[in-house]
Subunit: 392 residues, 2 copies
């Protein structure tokens, strides 16, 4: 169980494809995990996820610990049967959410005490308790409790790293179930020596897989990519590498190029619910007046249900009218966009054409701020005085 | 086009099955139309509706007139292609919604002026303008503009009836498209002589079908059923009869027994979104604490996607966690419940067993207040002092 085989290595980068075996089926990597925070990927049924060709789904231990509780889910045979998802699952430790509760948590060497965001009740996570919760949930991949500090604060990172490493060893010792892959989490902010130290420390503990945490939380993209370039070479060959919480399309492509195997992120699903649609040309805002009578699908050529059946005008109508079907269809498209991107990436790595694909993708895909600049430039060329402001 | 054939007549009641031909396919009657107010049955895709075996879908002219506008929908080839629903569609005239805007509309003999509930802008509906809007939307069945008064106010009903009848003639004269079935609407509150007069007046105008409006808006169930018993015999044989806005399961069964062919109602979808689930035993509130660890499906034996895949505990979790997937799955179940009920009703009419089915259904199906009384009675029998209050 949990064997990881590299099936193709791109010769000019760290990009590679692989197969990671889990109790609920193999994962073809690089893989992107849609986020199902509360035991549901928002607006989607398991059947939808299957049709989108999702393979790995993430759920959040913090949320499920508070509601409905790991014991109840265990009584239902675990998260797979509770939520009706038969494929591989990944749970985080809950630490990230707890540390986000800035004013509502108190840290000590042994763990962290916090108040529920739902009802203010008092709770405590320790390395041992988060492993117990994750064993009750029963995901295929589980995570060590770690501390995710502000990435640019060196003193905080040094301090947090000691706890993260001690907790990693305690999580490992606390694990009882053999059918779950426990991953260690490398921290260290944007500091190369701390990242290298963290990778080496966790490597000595010999985890099934290694996550890189604490990125995409305030540093620049250049700092994120540089941190990957420092960290990945310190991780053992032949173990899957998971870049936590990163999933913007450009970051996926750049992460793959730097040797990442697993991604998860709320971005595709969260921006979808705000009317932000991912396309090869960048992100489009479906609420904009320019789409009011647009008969095209979100992205011509896309094979998703939304693009196969509806116009931008209809989808914009759903958003303007506050209809949840709009949230669903936008989510379907964005996840299909990212999951199709992953399949293309795997295909290009196998074919030896990943570097050309990466260059083309990054040229075509305009980041949100680039898209605004492009529109301003185009408007000036058309002699317009200002870009027409998007309506709400 | 629009031929209506009665295919089976129940000998002991007015219940009958039929086939109503429309440009987008035949309707097997009695039929229930899910309500797609804003060109979407809330939380469902057209594929979902097809799988639920919905045949007729209703959309609201008032809402679509305001947003996105009938002209835009006409530019997209009409409502069928705009919303991606290839089957029969029905639009109301918009009158019911306008008359619900109590403080925001002004009536005259020629029509009604009203303010949009969205932005307060001023608009006007006349018989001619609502036919034009419905011709732009392009539904298979369209409705005359009528006035729906308070059902117990005789003077108001007499007054409104004159307008409703004059407007019916004007709607008929205004119709240009031959591929839409225009239905007249019988009004008259709970007053037998007014209902009979209304039916006779509209019958003289020779509509393709006849609706009974102004019910389920404040009268008792006994008054509603008595009104059907007065009205239906006054309508021509061989024309479909549509009971507007009625769709509680017990009212469907009683309506069919009194000769109704077409029903529509927001009840199944609206109560679903509040966690109210329809079962043969009555309505259950999924939010109740008693379902927190309940491994059963909503209704054992139900063939809907929700019942085939999820426990009450999981669905309750979705509702408690505010996840829209809960709204979707509850909607799927409730519509499947009603649409399966319609299929059963048609089968029993054809088999000559409808009266026994009706009796059994009404015995088993407890109305919400009956269910509460039953629970109180059961609690007293168990010696409990009070029914445990449902948690929120």
């Amino acid at each position: 169980m949990f064997e990881f085989h590299v099936t193709a290595q791109e010769p000019h980068s760290a990009a590679h494809t692989g197969v990671f075996e889990t109790p609920h089926g193999p994962l073809l990597t690089p893989v992107f995990a849609p986020v199902g925070t509360q035991a549901t990927v928002k607006t989607l049924t398991p059947r939808d996820l299957h049709e989108l060709e999702a393979s790995l789904v993430l759920a959040n231990t913090y949320h499920l610990y508070l509601r409905p509780g790991p014991e109840l889910i265990a009584d239902f045979g675990g998260l797979h049967s509770f939520m009706g998802w038969p494929g591989p699952l990944l749970t985080d430790s809950g630490g990230y959410q707890v540390f986000s509760l800035a004013q509502m948590r108190k840290l000590d060497a042994d763990g962290v005490t916090f108040r529920s965001h739902i009802d203010g009740s008092l709770h405590r996570f320790t390395p041992e308790s988060t492993i117990a919760a994750q064993e009750a949930l029963g995901a295929d991949i589980i995570m060590c409790l770690d501390e995710c500090p502000e990435p640019l604060d060196r003193a905080y990172n040094e301090d947090a790293l000691r706890r993260t490493h001690a907790w990693a060893a305690r999580c490992q010792a606390a694990q009882r179930r053999a059918d779950q892959a426990l991953f260690g989490i490398v921290q260290g902010g944007i500091f190369p020596d701390l990242r290298a130290e963290s990778a080496r420390t966790l490597r000595a503990l010999d985890f099934v897989g290694y996550a890189i945490g604490g990125l995409s939380v305030g540093e620049t993209k250049a700092e994120m990519y540089a941190t990957l370039e420092i960290t990945v070479p310190e991780l053992p060959v032949g173990r899957p590498r998971y870049l936590m919480g990163v999933g913007a399309p450009e970051d996926i492509v750049e992460g793959v190029a730097r040797g990442i195997d697993i991604f998860d992120c709320v971005l595709p699903t969260r921006v979808a619910r705000n009317g932000g649609l991912l396309t090869r040309g960048g992100r489009m805002n479906l609420r904009n007046a320019q789409y009011a009578a647009d008969p095209l699908p979100i992205e011509p050529g896309c094979d998703c249900y939304a693009c196969q059946h509806f116009s931008r005008a209809y989808l914009r109508h759903l958003f303007k009218a506050g209809e949840t079907l709009g949230l669903h269809l936008a989510t379907v498209h964005n996840l299909r966009f990212v999951l199709r991107l992953m399949a293309e990436i795997r295909g290009h790595i196998a074919a030896g054409t990943f570097m050309a694909f990466r260059a083309q993708f990054l040229t075509e895909y305009q980041l949100p701020n680039q898209a605004v600049r492009h529109a301003q430039h185009a408007a000036r060329r058309r002699g317009e005085t200002a870009v027409r402001k998007a309506d709400r």
